[in-house]
């Protein structure tokens, strides 16, 4: 968990909010269309709208699993709304989570991080709608193919998050611990989705419940062994003079921005974990072992489920208490070790303990006998026989329409993300977050005649008919200028065939190193000689100063061995010789992401100028 981002993060947060509002409007339109369609079907085509047959009651285990994970997905989607997500999630949460995993895992995760870095707003807003949509769909659809489709969507997204967002829950990294989230909350979501995708008839048997109990029990036992393994280090209060893994992790949780009471609680518990590490870890191992054993025994030999009004057998009572006690222990772990999971501005879910409780709780409920079919309403048969449309309207499966709407919400998130992932260039919003938005205006471009890197005179007026991307570069600059040149070259490539109508023009921004020998050296250094539309112009100092003044570019020598300082500005000049845009071309950190993003911003600005003529 990390704190919120800086100024660029604030810009991204604003763009994120704007994107969410746009998508919310789309969702509203889709909802209205569905509502209208449903109303029309209800009243104009009652035979289509009527529910077929008498619905069976949903088994309580499936209900618990569906609504439990529906609420969790919804909560996760809401957590994704936090404004720090676009700027912070990839680099402050996902990448660090994979840092201690093997190289191949990091490569996989790097895919997701790259996608997020290149399209932070799209990715963040997509994550919101996908998770909100899955949650709503699960809550809306109690049965049937729509419910299973929602579950499948949950399983797929959960698996994707587990692999790409959680680095497989850290199961391939050292220091695995159930106390801190192993084997990854998203895996539990995926398992729940897969189980909910089973056909309804499967849930009328006891095996899904027993499988759930058995699997979670086995998982608890395995994690207990891992927790107790001597080389894992969980028994050590200090390692090389620093807090051991338990105290260290709790300490880092305590430093998360959160309510003071929680910080105090975790700080105190962290001190306890440091001073009495063995005792704390022993209790944890015992809880995991006892819980796992209880679930495994319950799965293997479930006590007869008491019928309504019948006394509860001792075995059944014991199993019930064991499951309840384990749930309480899980809640304590959730509080003391996992810090509830969602604080700090970048918390994406409540971690693993709550989903685990839902899983084994549903498994326990799955031991109950399947409910009998609900009695058919008396008027259902008669109305079916009579074909009275007005009566049937009450049985129109509105949940199917709501589920359809919910899945449309998923698509509102998934489609832009899929489109973004096919786009090799970073969104311009990254550059705008770093350097501010493009200033759009219209004023005649001041003319000049300078000398190209090939020694030929070039007048700006001679470039009429072409769109000019103009900037000012210091040929001996070691940092920004080479990056800006590369951005221009990338923008040129993004423009493809349109680049033939574009001139990439740089004017020397150095009062000392201004000969064509230097513009040629820079051109060779950046591989710009291959770009036929590249012009690096220079002239006498007097000529250059005039151009700098006309374009408002400050160029000054700095003392004591510093580079010449100059403004990083770029101008887009339309084919008619009108400046249509001014960009702050300061490339910021000059990472592949910002370079690509600035290139996209430049290319977009050039396209705009071309359209404007």
């Amino acid at each position: 968990m990390g704190s919120g981002p800086g100024a660029s993060g604030a810009f991204l947060a604003g763009a994120f909010r704007s994107a969410l509002l746009h998508q919310l409007a789309v969702i509203a339109v889709i909802s209205l269309i569905l509502l209208a369609a449903w109303t029309v079907i209800r009243w104009r085509f009652p035979a289509l709208a009527a529910g077929g047959g008498v619905p069976r009651r949903e088994p309580s285990a499936r209900w618990a699993l569906r609504t439990g994970f529906g609420v969790l997905w919804l909560l996760d989607g809401i957590l994704q709304l936090q404004p720090a997500m676009p700027a912070g999630l990839a680099d402050q949460v996902i990448r660090p989570a994979a840092a201690s995993s093997p190289g191949w895992t990091q490569s996989l995760v790097n895919w997701a991080v790259t996608l997020w870095d290149y399209h932070p707003v799209t990715a963040a807003s997509s994550a919101v709608w996908i998770q909100v949509g899955i949650g709503l769909a699960l809550l809306c659809a109690p049965r049937g193919p729509w419910s299973r489709l929602a579950a499948l969507a949950g399983a797929g997204w959960g698996l994707a998050v587990w692999v790409f967002g959680e680095a497989f829950g850290g199961i391939f990294a050292p220091g695995l611990s159930a106390l801190f989230g192993a084997p990854g909350a998203a895996l539990l979501y995926a398992v729940a989705g897969a189980l909910l995708a089973l056909p309804g008839r499967a849930w009328r048997r006891r095996w899904p419940g027993r499988v759930l109990l058995g699997a979670t029990g086995a998982a608890f036992l395995v994690l207990a062994v891992v927790q107790a393994w001597p080389s894992s280090g969980f028994w050590k209060g200090t390692v090389a003079g620093k807090p051991g893994p338990l105290a260290s992790m709790i300490g880092s949780m305590a430093s998360t921005p959160q309510p003071r009471a929680l910080t105090d609680l975790l700080t105190g518990f962290g001190n306890l974990a440091r001073s009495d590490t063995v005792a704390v870890n022993l209790v944890a191992v015992l809880v995991l072992t006892a819980g796992g054993a209880a679930l495994a025994v319950t799965a293997a030999r479930p006590a007869p489920w008491p019928a309504a009004g019948e006394p509860v057998s001792r075995a059944a009572r014991a199993q019930r208490y064991a499951v309840a006690a384990l749930a309480v222990c899980c809640l304590v772990i959730w509080l003391l070790f996992q810090d509830l999971g969602f604080f700090g501005g970048l918390g994406t879910d409540p971690n693993s303990m709550v989903p685990l409780i839902v899983l084994f709780g549903a498994g326990y409920l799955g031991l109950a006998p399947a409910p009998a079919p609900a009695p058919a309403p008396a008027d259902a048969v008669s109305s079916r026989e009579a074909g009275a449309a007005g009566q049937r309207a009450a049985r129109v499966p509105g949940y199917a329409v709501a589920t359809l709407g919910s899945l449309a919400v998923v698509l509102v998130g998934a489609v832009p993300m899929a489109a973004a992932s096919a786009q090799p260039n970073a969104d311009p919003v990254v550059a705008e977050a770093s350097a501010g938005q493009v200033s759009v205006f219209s004023k005649p471009a001041p003319g000049f005649t300078l000398t190209s890197q090939r020694g030929r005179p070039v007048a700006l007026s001679a470039l009429r008919g072409k769109t000019v991307l103009l900037t000012f570069l210091d040929p001996v600059c070691t940092t920004d200028c080479p990056v800006i040149a590369r951005e221009m070259l990338l923008a040129d490539r993004q423009l493809r065939a349109r680049a033939r109508a574009v001139a990439l023009v740089a004017v020397v921004a150095n009062p000392t190193y201004l000969s064509t020998a230097y513009t040629r050296a820079f051109t060779r250094q950046e591989g710009l000689g291959a770009a036929p539309n590249w012009l690096y112009l220079t002239g006498s100092l007097r000529q250059l100063r005039a151009v700098w003044d006309h374009y408002g570019v400050q160029v000054e020598d700095s003392p004591a061995g510093a580079m010449t300082s100059h403004d990083d500005l770029a101008f887009v000049i339309s084919p008619r010789g009108v400046i249509t845009a001014e960009l702050n071309a300061d490339p910021g950190p000059g990472t592949p992401v910002t370079t690509s993003s600035f290139a996209t911003l430049m290319a977009d600005s050039v396209r705009h100028a071309m359209r404007a003529g």
Binding site: W111, A112, T114, L115, I130, P145, L149, L152, A153, G156, W157, A160, F164, A197, L198, R201, A202, V410, G413, M417, A418, S421, A422, Q423, P424, D474, V476, C477, T478, D480, C481, P482, V483, L490, A509, P511, T512, Y513, L514, A517, Y518, A521, R524, Q525, E526, D557, S558, P559, A560, G561, A562, M563, T564, S565, H566, D586, P592, V593, T595, S596
Partner: protein, 375 residues
């Protein structure tokens, strides 16, 4: 357990949804390749770039000032003036280090190469007018210059430089065009790595470096013109390791100590021969070294010792222990020696008269320290 019949449409929808979700989750843009022009920072030079040298225009010193980041500075004491001033050439970043070169006869001014850092892959050059009052840009060296204080040599329109790759680049038109000279063939001692150059005439070049795994000092004379440099080994009077080379003199750490080797032409025959000065007993490589006048040299020794040698027949003269943080020695006025000590943003000048037994603080030059720059 056959639950799938009759659910084909639901499954189809499920598969479609899964495909979209997977596509959304799995696909990612191809990262833009990392900066292709970037190269790692130059390694720390084996022989420090800190130096001083004298020309007709005055005495020059090249010293690093500040520590994070280090910016290298040029200081000058013009003519017979008693004070130093900051004279770092403007317009290019000096944080990679400066390599200075003077004409072999000491006439004219100074030429300085900026060792490129970060994304810069060629070497900017600047030269003073003979009076040393203003800097102008000279055409750039097309490669990164290596980290050696003698990697650049200048004589009129002739320029030569050792590139980071070890290749010798030469120009006879003031740097407008450069050509790479063929490297020297391996000698009996092994492969030769050239680190230092001096121009010995309109077409003559002297290269110094290390030979074989032992790093034995080697001097090679070659030609700038013609199809081949035709490197010929110069016979040295003493073995050792090359420390510096300038003009027709070299500083070598020989078994008996630090010696200055000087070339002299035998009367009548024109056959060059090299003679060695009396050795200065030292242990280890000098902390810094440089040149005094046209035939002298100085060395800062580990532990604060310092010594100078002036005339061609003179012996080393040990100086009083230098002030703390002394980075370089240089020619002072009236035969004195100046010690330039760097303290934060200040270069403190200490002076030792010809027969004085201690250093006297004479001046402080404040350097406007740079903490990075835009551009």
């Amino acid at each position: 357990m056959r639950w799938w019949p009759g659910r084909v449409s639901g499954l189809a929808a499920a598969v479609a949804g899964a495909v979209i979700l997977t596509a959304a989750a799995c696909a990612a843009p191809r990262p833009v390749p990392a900066r292709t022009g970037a190269a790692p920072e130059p390694p720390a030079p084996a022989v420090p770039l800190t130096t001083s040298l004298a020309t007709a225009a005055g005495s020059w010193a090249v010293v690093p000032v500040s520590s994070r980041p280090v910016f290298w500075q040029v200081l000058v004491r013009p003519g017979t003036a008693g004070t130093w001033r900051l004279d770092t050439p403007p317009g290019a970043a000096s944080n990679g280090g400066l390599v200075a070169a003077a004409e072999p006869d000491g006439a004219g001014g100074l030429t300085v190469a900026f060792r490129p850092t970060q994304d810069l892959t060629f070497t900017p050059l600047a030269a003073t007018a003979p009076g040393g009052t203003a800097w102008t840009a000279a055409p750039p060296l097309r490669a990164r210059i290596t980290a050696s204080p003698d990697a650049l040599a200048v004589s009129g329109r002739v320029m030569a430089a050792v590139a980071g790759s070890g290749a010798v680049e030469a120009s006879t038109d003031g740097g407008t065009t450069w050509r790479t000279l063929p490297g020297p063939a391996p000698r009996a001692c092994g492969a030769v790595r050239i680190t230092s150059l001096s121009v010995t005439g309109p077409t003559g070049l002297l290269a110094g470096g290390a030979c074989g795994p032992g790093g034995t000092a080697v001097l090679l004379s070659g030609a700038l013109a013609g199809p081949s440099a035709g490197w010929r080994t110069v016979s040295l009077p003493v073995p050792g390791r090359l420390v510096r080379l300038a003009g027709r003199r070299a500083l070598v750490r020989a078994p008996g100590g630090l010696v200055v080797l000087r070339e002299a032409r035998a009367a009548g025959r024109g056959v060059p021969r090299w003679s060695a000065s009396a050795p200065l007993p030292v242990t280890g490589t000098p902390v810094a070294s440089g040149w005094l006048g046209s035939s002298g040299a100085w060395a800062l020794l580990p532990g604060g010792g310092a010594a100078v040698i002036t005339g061609s027949r003179a012996a080393w003269r040990t100086l009083p222990r230098v002030p703390a943080r002394t980075a370089a020695l240089a020619s002072g006025p009236g035969g004195s020696a100046d010690a330039l000590a760097v303290s934060g943003p200040d270069v403190v000048v200490w002076r030792n008269g010809p027969s004085a037994s201690r250093w006297t603080r004479v001046q402080t030059v404040r350097v406007p320290v740079q903490y990075g720059s835009s551009g």
